[in-house]
């Protein structure tokens, strides 16, 4: 195995950023509680490898707002004309310090947005995804919100990662998963090591077996959904923090009367306006309806349509929920019904 | 270095200040070309957010002017406006906007000369801080 010393990480990031690529890494925000977020890194800035990021890494691939194209109303020979300028694809970024739960969510996103994986033709996502490098930090510890052991190989999952770093004394053991990863560990920054891979964390578990059908059976039990969502305030945090949530909104914004852009932004199925029709009719008027859809999408509809659960057990929605909602309790309640 | 050209958005009530500005015009009282007036029925229609929006869109200064308190065409509009605008003015420093770039004032339909003074003076003031 190869080893990289903790103090060599900055040099690794500099190397990765060398070609002009954006390197996303966990960074501490100077607010009152030192929140940790993924953010574009620039040389000289510290990187936080010890803590969980409050939001997932998906912003690197699906930015909160993406300009799909610009448009302009032009006038030529007395006639109005419109011009569309599609966005040029960006270069693929590097994702450093993602966790297993971030990396494995890429498969779900790819299936939707990445033509190579059967997704539709989304030039923005595809551009960022095609050459993406994901360097994952393996989890040797976890907290009480983590529940990735419920899914697949849990903390040992390698899907989505190019290189996995295992924390050991004074540094990390580096295990390549893809060719891109193998190429990286050949850098001088890495050296051979005979250290053993550390023991990985074991998280809490929830039982998801049978949930897909159970959900459909319980769909009409509105009292159940009211009960499990009673704490929920219907903000968009859980969807925005989630590595797998991907629903979006499309809208136009003008800058002045002649030019504007069509944007795609993160959207949350927990918002009332999400399904509100112009007639005033809303098929999901109550928080309970929306919460039901959220659970349904993750554990029933997406598995039915794409064969996979749309949750990686990262626990971010639990840690950050301002109302104290714990999706695991919801699943348990549903399963016990 | 004070800026020479500034753009100021004026929110003027139709009944007093807009008429006062007209009067200043009728009397050919020269004023800097900084002000762009938006006519409203009443200062009570001035949402403080319009002021913030104007700053956000790049206004160098924002001036709100209406009937003198007590003379509102709608009896009470400017009483409400005065409260809203005072809170706004005091909030500006915390929002990172120099309060010298904002002013609210009362100019009646017959105070053409006062209007010209207000525009002159406020333009100077904005130039100093921009």
């Amino acid at each position: 195995m190869r080893f990289i010393a903790e103090d060599a990480i900055p040099r690794l990031l500099e190397h990765l950023a060398g070609g002009g690529r954006t390197v996303w890494a966990p960074r501490v925000v100077r607010d009152s509680v030192n929140t940790v977020l993924f953010a574009p890194w620039s040389a000289g800035e510290p990187v936080e490898t010890g803590a969980y990021t409050h939001l997932s890494a998906k912003a690197a691939l699906l930015p909160p707002t993406e300009r799909l194209f610009g448009f302009g109303y032009l006038q030529a020979a007395g006639e109005e004309r419109i011009e569309l300028e599609p966005e040029e694809p960006e270069e693929s970024p590097v994702l450093f310090g993602a966790r297993v739960c971030d990396a494995r969510a890429l498969a779900a996103l790819d299936a939707l947005f990445f033509p190579a994986s059967g997704g539709f033709n989304d030039p923005g996502y595809a551009g960022r995804r095609s050459g993406l490098t994901v360097i994952t930090l393996a989890c040797t510890t976890c907290d009480s919100a983590c529940f990735c052991s419920s899914f697949g190989k849990g903390p040992a999952e390698t899907d989505g990662s190019d290189l996995i770093l295992y924390p050991v004394a004074n540094g990390f053991l580096a295990e390549p998963v893809t060719d891109a990863g193998s190429e990286l560990v050949r850098l001088d920054l890495f050296q051979d090591s005979r250290l053993e891979k550390p023991e990985l964390a074991v998280t809490a578990r929830v039982e998801t077996a049978g949930l897909r059908e159970k959900f459909i059976d319980l769909f009409s039990d509105i009292d159940l959904w009211r009960q499990v969502s009673e704490k929920c305030l219907s903000c968009g945090f859980c969807a925005y923090a989630c590595p797998a949530c991907h629903c979006f909104n499309i809208f136009d914004e003008m800058s002045g009367d002649r030019e504007g852009e069509r944007c795609r932004s993160w959207d949350s199925c927990m918002f009332y306006s999400y399904t509100l029709e112009t007639s005033g009719h809303n098929p999901r008027p109550e928080i309970a309806h929306r919460y039901r859809n959220r659970i349904g999408h993750k554990f029933s509809y997406f598995p039915a349509n794409r064969g996979e659960i749309l949750c990686t057990g990262c626990g971010r929605c639990i840690r950050g929920c301002p109302a104290g909602v714990d999706i695991r309790e919801v699943i348990r309640t549903v399963q016990e019904r | 270095m004070p800026k020479t050209e500034v753009k100021i958005i004026g929110f003027l009530c139709n009944w007093c200040s807009y008429a006062g500005a007209d009067m200043a015009g009728t009397a050919r009282m020269k004023q800097p070309a900084s002000l762009r007036a938006v006519r409203l029925p009443c200062t009570g229609r001035v949402n403080p957010l319009l002021v913030l929006k104007a700053f956000r869109e790049g206004a160098d200064g924002v001036l709100v002017s209406g009937c003198h308190p007590g003379d509102c065409h709608y009896n009470e509009g400017n009483y409400y406006a005065r409260r809203r605008l005072e809170v706004l003015e005091r909030m500006l420093p915390a929002l990172g906007i120099d309060p010298a770039r904002f002013r609210y004032t009362w100019v009646s339909a017959s105070e053409g000369a006062k209007w010209a003074d207000v525009v002159n003076e406020f333009t100077q003031q904005v130039k100093q801080v921009i």
């Binding site: 009152s32 919100a145 305030l233 903000c235 932004s265 918002f271 | 913030l52």
Partner: protein, 309 residues
């Protein structure tokens, strides 16, 4: 406070209401989480301690059709009062169980220091986490340091002695508030630009706010009025927040829930505290301090207004 007072109080109130809003302990989070008690049995799970950080008043407008009991700290009671003043909640459909509050701890900060879900215990004026302990006042929420509302404004039933609290300790002077206060106007412009560049427009600030009662039609998001574009960027997000803050003038009770809810740590209270201070200076008004006072921006005073200038 012991649960010996709280649980019987909830049970008593349950005799006349459909549900009581309170807290219970979450095994996963190691702290209190909001809970609804419908039956006396459920009420046995009720707790109150310094991790009962949530302002449960936020649920009252969402429960328009039921009779509701609510366990309230002094600050929460102000939100309840303001909701009544604003006509969002009718007094006769709620029962307030007042609790004596020693101040609540900044759970987000604690979690950031010690890890999510580590059990937080509050005993003998000290907060114990992971085998370590700190004096409670070192880890209180900022609002608790300047608490003027230890005794709830409205109480139907007191669970414990809500009148005999010790005054809150002064806040630590090294935090973000002091940094902000020392900034020039230009620095503040930069500061907010940077802060709002993190905003993801999840609207947790709004949804966690008990007084943001527009909710589903909130103009932070609408195209009519189109105050702000939908793009998630520093400029639009700041404007969106200015929309909210402007609407909180004379309405915000300073409960700090918006800032607590913010997943990216934007210090919203810097603005709201400033605005609350201005409102109090100008109109001698504190939102939620009295059932009689009229919200200051919905009224005027010919004789006193204008004397400020």
């Amino acid at each position: 406070m012991s649960m010996n007072d709280l649980i019987p109080a909830i049970k008593k109130v349950l005799e006349e209401v459909d549900v009581v809003l309170g807290w219970t302990r979450s095994p996963a989070a190691g702290v209190a989480v909001p809970a609804r008690f419908h039956t006396p049995d459920e009420a046995d799970g009720a707790i109150f301690d310094s991790t009962c950080i949530h302002n449960l008043a936020v649920h009252l407008p969402r429960l328009k059709n039921s009779k509701v009991g609510i366990v309230a700290k002094g600050c929460d009671a102000r939100s309840i009062v303001q909701l009544i003043v604003e006509g969002e909640v009718s007094r006769d459909r709620i029962r307030v169980i007042g609790v004596p509050c020693p101040g609540v701890i900044d759970v987000k900060r604690a979690w950031r220091c010690y890890g999510f879900g580590k059990k937080i215990e509050d005993a003998g004026g000290r907060v114990h986490m992971e085998g370590r302990s700190v004096p409670r006042e070192e880890i209180l929420l900022h609002k608790c340091h300047q608490c003027r509302d230890q005794e709830p404004v409205i109480v139907d039933l007191a669970a414990g002695d809500v009148t005999s609290m010790t005054p809150p300790p002064p806040p630590d002077k090294s935090g973000i508030r002091e940094r902000f206060a020392a900034m020039s106007i230009t620095e503040r412009r930069e500061f907010w630009r940077e802060q709002f560049s993190r905003c993801i427009r999840c609207y947790a600030c709004r949804e966690a706010c008990p007084l943001c009662f527009c909710r589903d039609v909130c103009s932070m998001q609408t195209r009519e009025p189109h105050w702000t574009g939908g793009q998630v960027n520093a400029i639009e997000s700041e404007m969106a927040q200015q929309v909210r803050i402007s609407h909180m003038a004379g309405r915000c009770t300073g409960c700090e829930e918006c800032e607590r809810a913010c997943p990216v740590g934007i210090p919203l209270m810097l603005l709201l505290e400033e605005q609350n201070k201005i409102i109090e200076e100008l109109f001698a008004y504190r939102a939620g301090a009295s059932l009689e006072d009229k919200p200051p921006l919905l009224t005027y005073d010919i004789n006193r207004d204008g004397g400020w200038r």
